[in-house]
Symmetry: C2
């Protein structure tokens, strides 16, 4: 299992485009340099069952998180890293400077350690930072009324060209619970939502490789995939590929939760090659620096870690600033105590020193760091419930109140901020989490882990949590942190990551449908139409996982002929409801059967005609 | 793939008991002959982290659908079939007679066909039927105020001895949407619910092998697994094992949807060896009898099929009686037309003959058949939506109105009746389905397929539908028909059946938690406590799929030692929140830290003590 840390090989990175898909780039109007990457899925024609005429089906454009990897025209070299597409936009604003060297002591120690040469990222760039007295956050620009290229990119991306595609059938209204999603997302709308603090654009100026994306309940629900090596397993190589792999299947951003040695180097490789924002939990690395002895953590060491990661390009930090000394005893009677790693580390520190959480006491100072790089706060829920028994309890909601207070401080500093949530919550208690968070945190975006709706299915927790994730996404949650089948049992491998990501992608999409997001139902309708018309290839290709769908189909009907067959292995020709249904429809059409004519009895000749031709329509 | 139909071999049947579990039998009080089978999971002791003392954990009793197969003390011979445990109860009532021969023409034709000898069930028994003028339905008894052994069995089974197990922590209240679940299920409560038509006990007098179970929104949510061979695949052998296998993982009943040849013989083998009720869609076999030409179906042939299956012991029939001629044109503009096989067959027949659905026009005559065997109606939703685009449309709700009308007719005949529902429905439109059904069908139990909450994830439809299933179960749905990963793509194999059943079991349980079912949360709490205390084996064994959980765990930490380790592969020792959390808790206990003391500052000696011992607690 354990393999030595070395620079990743090019060939381990997944690059193949999705079947019948091509990458397209939509240009910005306000900012012509903006080119929004999307995936266009081409479809085969529909054969009219009566006339036999071929009717073309429009291609379907979908939101694409896979980055340049799925574009055959793009040169990829993981040793150079991805193109830094946002850099010109950042420099154009004239409020950043490139430093001669890295600020973090620890960072420089690593850079000067020749033993790490073999694993160090080759083309290291000097970091950027805000000029003295400048604030470079998207929130700061938004409040000044500036529509940044990042904002226009997001507006175009969220629309998925849906207005240019003809709707196949009525889109359902949806029930939005106070969210207000416009029929078309404009750059100005993006700006307003960011300025209001209701949306966040994670975009560290030192991660210009990432394609802009937004978190907010008036936008598409996003998902996060956790990767990262642990003390016991995996290598840099595996982690970079895991990041690319997660994005391929739909991760809107990733978190590097590495806890082993060489966290610094691993993270560099991941960020330089990640087309999506990257988040971390800095306390993990800080703890490594004090050899795992929580009591030895200090503010100075922690601050150096924040700067180290900010200059590498981490887009948001999970900070357990709400775990206050007085809340710790509230967890004593819980079934599962404290289940957040960061939360338990801070609780241990607080008790050991009998002092208040240093992330809380130094929060304003942290804001000063964040605004110089546009690192967003992801205020961690260190006291989230670890079992349905502990859901929505005193400790959890006490911490949430504190996160609400910190949200206001972050906003005063014009630092972007969103809030993390549970965890393990039975279905009937999920909405209370969303409603309380909106109220207490003044509509800052919510980012939850699941929640798991029951504890009795280890091995299936991507599903127990996918249920809760879809529901809270519908209620207004902005981002869903995935759970893999290995949750509670082991570290996810590549296949687990794929299963977790696709499960959460479908949950997020189910939420978008329920919210009535204008861009959501088009893909469902296109796939359903393909299904009804037995366009098997199109059905596979419009799905979230074309490979798996094809694989399952071919298990029972491998022959190519079966993929154009007007029935499938489930029912066989005689029992195919869709086939019969098409016959019924054709008969009705040919004979102008409608709700009126059908009630006049005795259409004998029509039934005769049907008996003659009806069952033959497909021959 | 295709294998010749022959009698099943004994050794292909899964029999191994679940780890650390033993089958127990709880005796009835009103009816001492009633012995309710349950599974008792034995747990290891908890090691007190401070004193090191061992504290025993009570065994946990769970609802068990696996039947005698998981009881090593029971002799199983698939050629003889299971013990006919309900037969004495049925005979005792003195209202049935055993016939000298089978009534169905078709049945007798098959029995006299020597070519079928090699595949025929060996120990065929003569069928039972109500004596002239008698009604033998559980509904009939319930209305007369009789508490049958079946009812007492169910009351004991639903309680799962929860009142005898000490609750580990507070059970959440739940939100029941008008359901009224008592804190303890009594036999009288079961009778009342059945008499009211709000619950159904599927129990054909010719299927005495099945253990009694109940469908109703004031009881545990049940799940159904579809099995059955198709024209293209599988054998009797595989189907019997698939039935046993489905029950093993938690199927509360199964439907035999066979459409190939030898349906009659396959069904006999399945029913004789099924510990749970068995449902069918008789129109499938009827269509086979007319070589798949829907137009050739006749009422007489259909009626003979109903009697044939009633005398074999089918517990409920899915009948698409609500697909009326005038509703068919309502499906013309749909994206996916009619997706119910039975529905499309009836629609085709109606149009071809321009006559009203013969199942509808002969409904009273069908009631006369049902009441002689206590076969329940499962009124099929032939016009259910096959895509989110078609959800909750005119056709679907028009049919539902008709099913409501037929429910009243069935009740007048004192025949048990429940209602089938969709299908494909986005989350925000699910509750409307439940509420309308309760209103229109006067609280008859609802039985839905999923619903799938999005159409874009072929290969993952057990999950897209598990989301909808959990939600509608919470809203009051009595039974959830499972969907496997192969839905829309191919026929499920054994592993797909297992995945589908466990997925639906966890969805049903999530619903029971949300409804606040008194028997639900105990298992979650016991598993969470085991998780927090690193009792790995107990965590596996309390889960729905112990084998898979263990397998996943062992992938990363195979050593036996790891299963008693106080950390796991996810975080390693230093980052284990549960370990740290236990240390925090012990520290608080030892030093009487509570919400008062914690606010007095300067407990230096305590923090010192913690630094000395705190991190060592586990060594």
């Amino acid at each position: 299992m354990k393999s030595k840390d070395t620079a990743p090989k090019k060939d381990v990175i997944s690059r193949q485009p999705f079947p019948n898909s091509k990458k397209i780039y939509v240009q910005g109007k306000l900012h012509p340099q903006v080119k929004v990457a999307m995936r266009e899925i081409n479809l085969s024609d529909t054969k009219d069952s009566l006339t036999g005429k071929l009717v073309p089906n429009e291609p379907v454009t979908v939101y694409d998180t896979s980055g340049p990897y799925t574009d055959p025209n793009q040169e990829i070299d993981v040793h150079k890293g991805l193109e830094r597409l946002k850099l010109p936009w950042i420099l154009e604003r004239g409020d950043v400077e490139q430093l001669d060297s890295f600020t973090s002591e620890f960072c420089n120690k690593r850079l000067n350690d020749s033993e790490l040469n073999h694993m160090r990222f080759a083309h290291l760039k000097k970091p950027f930072r805000a000029k003295k007295g400048k604030n470079v956050t998207q929130l700061h620009y938004a409040k000044k009324g500036i529509i940044t290229p990042e904002m226009e990119y997001i507006a175009i991306r969220e629309n998925q060209r849906i207005d240019e595609m003809t709707e196949i059938s009525q889109q359902h209204q949806g029930e939005s619970f106070g969210a207000a999603i416009p029929s078309k997302i404009t750059p100005e709308f993006v700006r307003e939502e960011v300025a209001r603090g209701r949306a966040v654009i994670p975009s560290n100026i030192n991660h210009p490789e990432a394609e802009p994306m937004i978190l907010g309940r008036n936008f598409l629900v996003k998902i996060n995939a956790n990767i990262g090596n642990s003390a016991t397993t995996s290598s840099i190589e595996e982690e970079v590929e895991k990041a690319v792999w997660a994005c391929r299947w739909g991760a809107d951003n990733i978190m590097d939760l590495s806890t082993g040695k060489n966290i610094h180097e691993t993270r560099e490789w991941i960020i330089r090659n990640s087309p999506v924002p990257v988040g971390t939990v800095p306390i993990y690395q800080a703890l490594e620096k004090v050899n795992g002895v929580a009591e030895d953590l200090t503010w100075e060491l922690f601050k150096d870690t924040l700067i180290e990661q900010a200059e590498q390009g981490v887009d948001y930090f999970t900070l357990h600033a709400g775990v206050l000394l007085r809340y710790v005893p509230m967890t004593a009677k819980r079934v599962t105590g404290i289940v957040s790693r960061g939360g338990s580390i801070m609780a241990k520190w607080c008790l050991a020193h009998h002092k208040e959480n240093f992330i809380y006491t130094h929060f304003e100072e942290i804001c000063e760091v964040m605004k110089q790089y546009d690192v967003s706060f992801s205020l961690g829920d260190g006291l989230r419930p670890g079992s349905v028994a502990d859901a929505n309890d005193e400790a959890q909601f006490a911490e949430l109140e504190t996160l609400g207070e910190l949200t206001q401080i972050a906003r005063r500093h014009e630092v972007q901020c969103f809030i993390e949530g549970p965890g393990h919550v039975p279905m009937h208690m999920i909405k209370e989490n969303m409603d309380k968070q909106i109220e207490v945190c003044d509509e800052a975006p919510f980012y939850t882990l699941g929640p798991l709706t029951t504890d009795i299915a280890p091995g299936y927790d991507h599903i127990t949590s996918g249920i809760g994730a879809a529901m809270i996404g519908w209620y207004g949650c902005a981002m869903l942190c995935y759970v893999t089948p290995k949750e509670h049992l082991g570290l996810p491998n590549k296949e687990d990551v794929r299963t977790g990501v696709v499960t959460y992608k479908l949950a997020a999409h189910a939420a978008d449908l329920a919210k009535g997001h204008p861009g959501a139902q088009h893909r469902d309708n296109a796939l359903s139409k393909a299904r009804f018309e037995f366009r098997w290839e199109d059905q596979f290709n419009l799905g979230l996982d074309p490979e798996l769908a094809r694989e399952y189909h071919d298990e029972t009907l491998p022959a190519d002929g079966a993929k154009i067959a007007h029935f499938c292995s489930m029912c066989g020709p005689k029992f195919c409801s869709m086939k019969i249904s098409q016959e019924v429809r054709d008969f009705a059409a040919k004979n102008k059967v409608n709700e009126e004519t059908v009630v006049e009895m005795g259409m004998e000749e029509k039934s005769q005609e049907f008996r003659d031709k009806g069952s033959e329509v497909y021959l």
